[in-house]
């Protein structure tokens, strides 16, 4: 798997975003400083933690925000990097340099996905570090947190590949990110707890896959999961692990679709 060709493409993909921090890392850093400053410091002081009453733990609103913002930054950047890299390569046709090489389709997909996932994870870490500047954080379930972050970064990098292949112009990429991804994340319990919702909206929210991602990262980071409150008590404690399992399965399915699309040349060949 780690052939010279794979490493060359992976390195190329890494260098593309690492050498442009003003375009890749600065925007999410600034945005999240603003989020923490406004929602955490200015408004947060006037907002009770959405979970303190029900969980018996006082996180403070700013601490409650951090996992959701980390997820938002990670998946947005993983998706954006993969979709942009593929689409820009298609648009200017330099993706032909890769397509005409002896790299296998699996190597191509894994190189694009892993580099994009790395970008998402770096952004996630940047956001966590910025959050740490505002409030102390102690990681409760480190291994679970790392596993979840890697899986969701890879999942959205894989979805970004599909986005980059189906897009017909740059506007399509904007639509995917701004009109599909962000609303799902915003309604994925980033800024509020599911426990604050009426039962009917709790049920609706449980259909949103982002809820499980945000909740899993919150569980990994803070040791608290909304599922402990809203899921039936009998299996509430298994929900985080089950979420990770389902997300992992979903990631494998998406990557398989990526490889299939490369194999048939969807959006890549005539």
């Amino acid at each position: 798997m780690l052939s010279v060709g794979f490493r060359a493409l992976f390195k190329r993909e890494l260098l593309r975003f690492i050498r442009r921090p003003k375009n890749t890392f600065m925007p999410p850093a600034i945005t999240n400083v603003l989020y923490f400053a406004v929602f955490g410091m200015i408004l947060g002081g006037r907002i009770d933690s959405p979970v303190e009453d029900v969980a018996g733990v006082d996180f403070g609103y700013i601490l409650f925000l951090i996992p959701g913002l980390v997820v938002l930054g990670t998946i947005s950047n993983a998706f954006e990097n993969a979709s942009f890299s593929i689409f820009h390569g298609r648009w200017n046709e330099y993706i032909h340099e890769t397509l005409t090489s002896p790299l296998s389709y699996v190597e191509m997909v894994v190189a694009y996905v892993s580099a994009s996932a790395v970008r998402g994870l770096i952004v996630g870490i940047i956001i966590a570090v910025i959050g740490r500047l505002f409030v102390p954080i102690s990681i409760e379930n480190g291994l679970f947190l790392v596993a979840t972050m890697v899986v969701i970064a890879a999942l959205f990098a894989g979805l970004g590949i599909i986005g980059g292949l189906v897009a017909r112009d740059f506007d399509d990429l904007t639509v995917m990110n701004q009109f599909i991804l962000r609303p799902l994340v915003f309604f994925g319990a980033v800024f509020y707890s599911l426990t604050m919702l009426e039962p009917i909206w709790q049920a609706v929210s449980l259909l949103n896959p982002m809820v499980y991602m945000v909740d899993s990262v919150r569980y990994g980071l803070l040791g608290y999961s909304d599922m402990f409150e809203v899921a039936p008590a009998a299996y509430a404690e298994f929900v985080p692990l089950a979420s990770l399992g389902v997300l992992t399965l979903l990631t494998v399915v998406v990557l398989t679709i990526d490889v299939y699309l490369f194999k048939i040349g969807y959006g890549l060949t005539d």
Partner: protein, 361 residues
Amino acid sequence: MPPAIETVDLVKDYGELRALNELSLTVEEGEFFGLLGPNGAGKTTFINTLVGLVRKSGGKAQVFGYDVEADYQQARNAIGLAPQEFNVDRFFPIREVLMHKAGYHGIPEDEAGERADEVLKRVGIYDKRNERFDWLSGGMKRRLLLARALVTDPDLLILDEPTAGVDVQLRHDLWDLVTELNEEGTTILLTTHYIEEAERLCDRVAIMNEGHKVTVATPDDLKRRGTDTIEIRLESTSPAATTIESALGEYAHEVSTSGDQLEIRVDDGGSTVPQVLHDLEAAGHEIADLEISRTSLEEIFVDLTRQEDRSVTRSSASSASGSGGPDGDDVASEAAHGQTQEQEREHEHEHEQEREQEGVA
């Protein structure tokens, strides 16, 4: 050894448009092979099928015995492609672009750097190694495409219109370079609109038209298939063409007269001239001067590819492609994309501006 390229009944359909029509072609290892044909003949589609940028609809295509789809990794590893279009990574200096390409072909980083330097020197743009593609002149861009094709040290070098739109000096430099490469053992497949180029460089040429092979021959063989013109000036005013025709044998395909000038079309001017002289003198005509105009390969090409009953679609597509100048592209590809290159360029320009405004994601 298997042939460098072997296709059998290769078919590529774009909807109802058949871009490659049961094309069977063999290019032997070490050959310098030319692919000639008008815009839309299917040349670029053929090349792209070999390198994996077009998926065939039927038939068989192999490179050095490797099937281009089943054994795509081995087939692609053997090929270096210098395409017609400028499809180079804009994010990196050109030396790094070459290193990346070499890396994709399994060449370790240190060696890739050495090879990049070597090919940049070979094509004469080493001093631009730290520039990005967009900052190069048109001629340098063309040289870079060749360098990128060479950096993997391919056994089969495919050049798609390599000298389209370049100046005379660069054209001659490229000719010298590819000749040298061929002498070193690299098999070369060249597509070109310039007949002189094919005549000068190629061991054999295939003429394609509307997706099928019209003929395959050496340039000399092709030229022998054409008719030559014997231009004769008589000492006195020439009689009517029909009178001259009756004095000559069936070897004279066409005779025209004007004042004391005669023009006689024959198959092989060199060997037919003595017979012409004999027959004219026997008929009482005195000859003051004589000249043979040999058929150019270009004329033969036009004869072979002339289609009086082209379909409306193809004709209009060809003219759209032709408006792009010497870089005219494959009609089939255009049909597939649903827009002409010119439109694409306009869109690309618009989006370049957008990207400048939006920044790079």
